[in-house]
């Protein structure tokens, strides 16, 4: 390998940005083709391409960091900035849906009966499954912090156990929310109540699945000795993302489930 007179990472040429971009093109065009011509081929192709891209791109980053040593302190700093900025963009994404909810619920139109919840909508009891979901996510926040401390103290067994517990709690949340969706007395088509409820909670659920997947990759990496007590940024990024998902749920719970009921 050529010697460089700086601590930054000049990456090898990579095909994954191109394959990812094409994957996104195929996914979006495929959506349009699905809507108008009832064929899912293009969309499926796009999804497959995106998954292949994600797998290989992130695999390469692990290779570059863990096996080739390219993630020096300045490089890690850049990765930290990147993750913070990404999470910030996601905060703004959710802000939009909260704006939509408050726009409709603070001044309910006559079509809704001039009240919130709208006339005819039976809301979910916030003190039943939604409260359990809150407890589950808060507990998972504790277990992920436990995992972090175990990592920093080089306690391999406890790091694996607490990380596994975190993932299980995430899966439990997803299962509970799926049954709530199935049993709900209203649908996404039930006016603006249904729209705001299912779009906001639906995107949140998707982020829980993404976060759980990220943590699962970290678990696999921890089992394979990738992390050291001083250097485990992949795990920290996953933990930050998980805390973000937890905080979004708390806002959802207080605004839509509790105040909105």
């Amino acid at each position: 390998m050529a010697h460089q007179a700086h601590a930054y990472h000049m990456v090898d040429p990579s095909p994954w940005p191109l394959t990812g971009a094409v994957g996104a093109l195929l996914l979006t065009s495929g959506l349009a083709i699905w809507f108008h011509f009832h064929s899912i081929t293009l969309m499926t192709l796009g999804l497959m391409l995106l998954f292949l891209t994600m797998y290989q791109w992130w695999r390469d980053i692990i290779r570059e960091g863990t096996f080739q040593g390219h993630h020096t302190p300045p490089v890690q700093k850049g990765l930290r900035y990147g993750m913070i900025l990404f999470i910030t963009s996601e905060v703004f994404f959710f802000l939009g849906f909260f704006w939509a909810f408050y726009h409709s619920s603070l001044a309910p139109t006559p079509e809704l009966g001039g009240c919130w919840p709208p006339t005819g909508v039976t809301t979910l009891d916030p003190f039943e499954v939604p409260l359990l979901n809150t407890a589950v996510l808060l507990a998972s926040g504790v277990t992920v912090t436990w995992a972090h401390h175990s990592l920093m103290e080089n306690n391999r067994k406890q790091a694996i156990q607490s990380l596994t517990l975190t993932i299980l709690l995430g899966l439990y949340f997803t299962t509970l929310q799926a049954t709530e969706y199935y049993e709900a007395p209203f649908t996404i088509a039930d006016g603006v109540y249904g729209s705001t409820f299912f779009v906001a909670t639906g995107f949140h659920g998707l982020h829980v699945i993404i976060g759980s997947s990220f943590l699962a990759i970290c678990l696999l990496r921890q089992i394979q000795y990738h992390f050291t007590s001083e250097h485990h940024f992949g795990f920290e990024a996953a933990a930050w993302y998980w805390h973000f998902v937890d905080v979004v749920w708390l806002f959802l719970y207080v605004s839509i489930y509790w105040w909105g009921s």
């Binding site: 394959t19 994957g23 195929l26 083709i33 011509f37 293009l42 292949l52 096996f67 080089n154 000795y225």
Partner: protein, 116 residues
């Protein structure tokens, strides 16, 4: 006011006259000096960790580091040889094929529909 060293925090705290007249230094259970504060344990090296090391598999990272640091000029996405090449070719194949399929589908979709 009487003082003692707290058995919980290791710091100076208030005490009753009774405990002041039975100095803590005489009791072996409670240290008269606070133990040194440990803010972070030193990084433990895996090779010194002993039998607990083999919990759920052995460490293959050093071997992988040797493989990926071989000076063979291969880019990181092809560093592992055949498997990498196969996966790359499949992905690229889907990319090029998919682009052509997409352009064709969009061209057909843009054609006006004949009224029935």
């Amino acid at each position: 006011m009487y003082y003692k060293v707290s058995g919980v925090t290791g710091k100076l705290t208030g005490a009753s006259a009774a405990s002041a007249y039975s100095p803590q230094g005489l009791k072996p259970a409670v240290p008269s000096q606070s133990p040194p504060m440990i803010f972070a344990l030193p990084t433990k090296v895996v090779s010194e960790a002993g039998p607990a090391v083999h919990y759920m598999g052995i460490n293959k990272v050093p071997d992988l580091q040797k493989i990926f640091q071989k000076a063979d000029g291969a880019p990181v996405h092809l560093k592992r040889g055949v498997m990498d090449k196969m996966l790359y070719r499949t992905t690229m194949g889907l990319t090029i094929g998919g682009t052509l399929y997409c352009l064709m589908a969009l061209y057909i979709a843009a054609q006006p529909r004949k009224p029935q």
